[in-house]
């Protein structure tokens, strides 16, 4: 299974929760304790067991383009085409 991780731009996140629904691994959760500067509770990437596969479905669903997706690929090979 491919390994991956995401970075969420919490300043641009509006807390719509659509990425948490799109994520097949359930490794995105909504913050409950720290609102962003705009007053939204942003999505957070919580993946202590390394379940993220870098599938990028969260990024496809995100209306605010807050998510950057990284995937571990074998060196010397070209990256797979992005999910879309």
């Amino acid at each position: 299974m491919a390994r991956g991780r995401i970075e969420i731009n919490e300043d641009n996140c509006k807390g719509c929760t659509l990425c948490t629904i799109a994520c097949p691994q359930g490794v995105i959760v909504m913050a409950t304790d720290h609102p962003s500067a705009k007053g939204y509770y942003p999505a957070m990437f919580v993946d202590p067991e390394g379940q993220c596969t870098g599938c990028a479905l969260c990024a496809v669903a995100c209306p605010d383009v807050c998510i950057t997706v990284y995937r571990q690929v074998p060196a010397k090979t070209r990256p797979q085409e992005a999910a879309v």
Partner: protein
């Protein structure tokens, strides 16, 4: 025996497209305008046409679209984006021109402009956002509001006896001879978003090939004015809007079929 260890390196597989400026949008949480913007920007990137693209913004929620797309752009009077796009494209036929319009802009005040632009077969692309409501002005009934749908100006639900039935714009435009490619897609889940992107890519290819007018209607969510959470709004698109506004290609003119197979 030595086993070669696979060396892994981290690569970016998804990031903000270059055609979308890195600024926060003014859209409400869960509004799929942001998704539609990103899909258009990704297509412009992939086709390599960002440097020669001119967008025309509407009046409506997407009125600031020219601030978000990293292309040239201008702002049309309410509903007149197709007329402005016609002028731009005729003066600069080497440029790629698209309009980005909502249902209040395209299906209400600007119905005449879009119909005649499509009839003339003007060589630009229209991205039509249908969210079944007037979003910017506070959630009034739109031409695309569904029968029985509650809005701030139809508090008892849209009564088709007095307000008539919603317009299926994609079907209307598809009936016009100048339209080369007309499709309707939805943005309510990841699978449909991916299909929407393919349709947008085809629409721009139709323009690049000079085959005629192209339009993609996107069923979009307005959680704020529908008084729903974003996940509820996505379900409402699927359960209420898609049955009335069927998804698919409504016009595939001669020559476009080859583009559809290209992907």
């Amino acid at each position: 025996m030595m086993v070669a260890e696979t060396v892994l390196e981290e690569q970016v597989v998804y990031a903000r497209p270059a055609s979308l400026r890195d600024v926060p949008t003014h859209y409400c949480p869960g509004c799929t305008h942001g998704v539609a913007h990103r899909l258009v920007a990704e297509v412009l990137d992939e086709l390599g046409i960002r440097e020669r693209t001119i967008g025309v913004s509407p009046v409506g929620c997407a009125v600031f679209a020219y601030k978000y797309f990293n292309t040239d752009g201008c702002e049309a009077a309410h509903g007149r984006a197709p007329a402005m796009a016609t002028g731009i494209k005729r003066v600069r036929p080497d440029m790629v021109v698209f309009t980005y319009q909502g249902d209040g802009d395209l299906a209400a005040i600007g119905t005449g402009e879009i119909i005649h632009a499509a009839t003339r077969g003007e060589l630009f692309t229209t991205i039509f956002i249908n969210n079944a409501i007037y979003g910017m002005t506070g959630g009034q009934m739109a031409p695309t509001t569904l029968p029985g749908q509650y809005t701030s100006s139809s508090p008892a639900g849209r009564d088709v006896e007095t307000a008539g039935f919603p317009i299926r714009m994609a079907e209307v435009i598809a009936g016009l001879p100048g339209a080369a490619y007309v499709a309707r897609r939805s943005l309510h889940n990841v699978k449909e978003i991916m299909k929407a992107k393919k349709a947008i890519r085809t629409a721009f290819k139709v323009q690049l090939a000079g085959l005629g007018f192209s339009m993609v209607e996107l069923l979009s969510a307005c959680p704020t004015n529908w008084s729903m959470s974003p996940p509820e709004a996505m379900r409402w698109i699927e359960e209420a809007m898609v049955p009335y506004y069927p998804l698919g290609d409504f016009k595939v003119a001669e020559g476009v079929e080859a583009l559809l197979k290209e992907r």
